[in-house]
Amino acid sequence: MAEHSEHIVSPKIYAAVLTALLAGTVLTVQAAKIDLGRWNIVLALTIAVTKMTLVILFFMHGKYSSRRTKLIIASGFFWLAIMLVLTLADYTTRHPEPSRSQLQPTPARTGSVPSGFSA
């Protein structure tokens, strides 16, 4: 059984992945400098997810591991998605009542007020 996970990935593939990751890094920095509105974050995360997929599939041999391992990996991300999606389900559908971003924070004991700003 373990022989399945013993697939040896050739250094050529590693080098190709390395190149792709570096290219992705440059790309994400360049993309951030263009104003795409809300699509900036979408693009940045798409690149990040792609890079992560490459690392998992090749560097971590995810592509060659058993179905059981794949299931474990998938369940990790599935649970993360549960947490993010359901919590956001609350925050994105809150009442249109006075929201906390409209409230001014009270200058309190741990907060500090900067010493005047001159622009």
Binding site: A2, E6, L21, L36, A48, F59, I72, M83, Y91
Partner: protein, 259 residues
């Protein structure tokens, strides 16, 4: 393929032992996903609430250092993968060499991180009593700011204040905007230090594990028949790399097009 190495009493075969170890590492990594998931959650919610302040905060980070660190860490992931490959193909001499390269790159990453933290400290960007988002624009010489960079930062803070205030037309309103911006930027920097700090902690643990691997690697212990530790620590190292792959765009690249 014939495995060697010590068979622990609880197992029947070496294959079973190796399979358990690898599977165990993966299960550990998914707990790590959820662990970091908690901070990412906190980040998401707070950024959702204060996009402007997070943009202002993000632009106070040094993009060059962050970019450099990303490159360094990706390279270290590659060298780590190569050390696993060397072990799998029984290149016993090469294993510790690649491991040393990985450790060196990891140390460079941590070194750059220290420089960055020091910079934030000097710029009064540590959350708490001394926090002042306007410190650099008020004391440009202390931060080495001048020319266009200074203008940009001033402009950006002003825009941030206008976005955060309820009334941009009166001095009182602007003062309230500044207080709000300063507060919300502290949230950003708390998350910045929390997230990168946790990541750095994982790096330090990883470096410790690498040291042990290097020690064993020079003894020539890892080959095609016995390489579970290299493989598992490799998995861990790649995971830490993945965390950074997300941290970099989320912390450094929020609003770069404004600057």
């Amino acid at each position: 393929m014939h495995r060697t190495g010590e068979l622990y009493g609880q197992f029947q075969t070496l294959d079973q032992q190796k399979e358990s170890a690898t599977l165990g590492m993966w299960v550990f990594l998914i707990t790590e996903i959820l662990f970091f998931g908690g901070v990412f959650m906190a980040y998401t919610i707070n950024r959702h609430a204060y996009p402007t302040a997070f943009g202002v905060g993000g632009n106070m980070l040094d993009l060059g250092l962050g970019f450099g660190n990303t490159i360094v860490l990706i390279a270290s992931s590659f060298t780590m993968a190569m050390s696993v490959w060397s072990a799998q193909t029984s290149r016993k001499k090469a294993v510790p060499v690649w491991l040393v390269a990985t450790l060196a790159l990891g140390s460079v990453f941590l070194g750059i991180k220290v420089v960055e933290y020091k910079q934030k400290f000097d710029h009064h960007l540590i959350p708490g009593h001394g926090f002042d988002i306007t410190y650099c624009s008020n004391n440009p010489s202390a931060c080495g700011l001048s020319g266009k960079a200074l203008e940009d930062e001033k402009k950006e803070i002003e825009e941030g204040i206008r976005a955060e205030t309820d009334d941009p037309n009166t001095p009182e309103g602007l003062a309230r905007g500044l207080i709000a911006l300063n507060a919300h930027a502290q949230l950003y920097f708390s998350l910045y230090f929390g997230m990168t700090g946790l990541h750095a902690l994982h790096m330090i643990i990883g470096a410790g594990l690498l040291l042990w691997l290097i020690f064993e690697g020079f003894k020539g212990r890892f080959d095609a028949n016995y390489n579970t530790p290299v493989e598992n620590i490799g998995l861990y190292w790649h995971f830490v790399d993945i965390v950074w792959i997300f941290l970099f765009p989320l912390l450094y690249l929020i609003n770069r097009h404004l600057a």
